[in-house]
């Protein structure tokens, strides 16, 4: 297995997982699950960028894109989940 083919396989795996995560994040109707997948997609994207020799941007994407963006979306997802449970199930939580 020459150096080059190993690299191509590695790139292939990276890209396929990236696209798979993106598809999963987009297609999942449940808000919380979508946000989780989106955070995972963000982290994986920073991994891909690290592979493309862009460390600064990878760090920023991990910290801001996946981290803070994810946290904000998580808060929104929890609020969306809370109102949807309140509107249809009368909301079990106090």
């Amino acid at each position: 297995m020459s150096q080059l083919t190993l690299l191509i396989i590695f790139d292939g795996v990276l890209l396929v997982t990236l696209l798979a995560l993106a598809f999963a994040a987009v297609l999942s109707p449940e808000p919380r699950r979508a946000v989780m997948l989106f955070i995972a997609f963000g982290l994986w994207l920073s991994l891909v960028w690290a592979r493309l020799r862009a460390p600064d941007v990878a760090l920023a994407e991990a910290a801001i894109g996946a981290g803070l963006g994810g946290a904000l979306m998580l808060a929104a997802a929890r609020r969306a989940a809370r109102t949807s449970t309140r509107s249809d199930g009368g909301g079990d939580e106090a």
């Binding site: 990236l18 696209l19 987009v26 946000v35 960028w49 920023a60 109102t83 509107s87």
Partner: protein, 98 residues
């Protein structure tokens, strides 16, 4: 080096198209925002793919800086959109309860 650039760039474009599709098709706010972020990530990914110049030559720093700025802009826009959505939800709840 060219094939890697093309491969990753193509992936970026696929992300762009995927995000665009999701934005146009899905109605709930959170899914639209996720779609927008994925489209943005796709475009940023194309920039980074262009900047990559093989393992020997150092990569082109200009697209890196552009993507850095783009990420911060994207996150601030997402934050505002989420808070507008939250405010809208509260206003709708007020209307329902009234």
């Amino acid at each position: 080096m060219l094939t890697a650039q093309f491969l990753y760039g193509a992936a970026g474009l696929m992300l762009f198209v995927l995000g665009l599709w999701s934005f146009l098709v899905h109605e709930p706010l959170l899914r639209k925002i996720i779609a927008l972020n994925i489209t943005g990530a796709g475009v940023f990914h194309v920039f980074i793919a262009i900047a990559y110049r093989g393992d020997t030559a150092p990569p082109d720093p200009v697209p890196h800086a552009l993507v850095l700025t783009g990420i911060v802009v994207a996150v601030s826009a997402t934050a505002l959109a989420l808070m507008l959505g939250a405010r809208l939800q509260d206003a709708e709840e007020e209307d329902q309860s009234r």
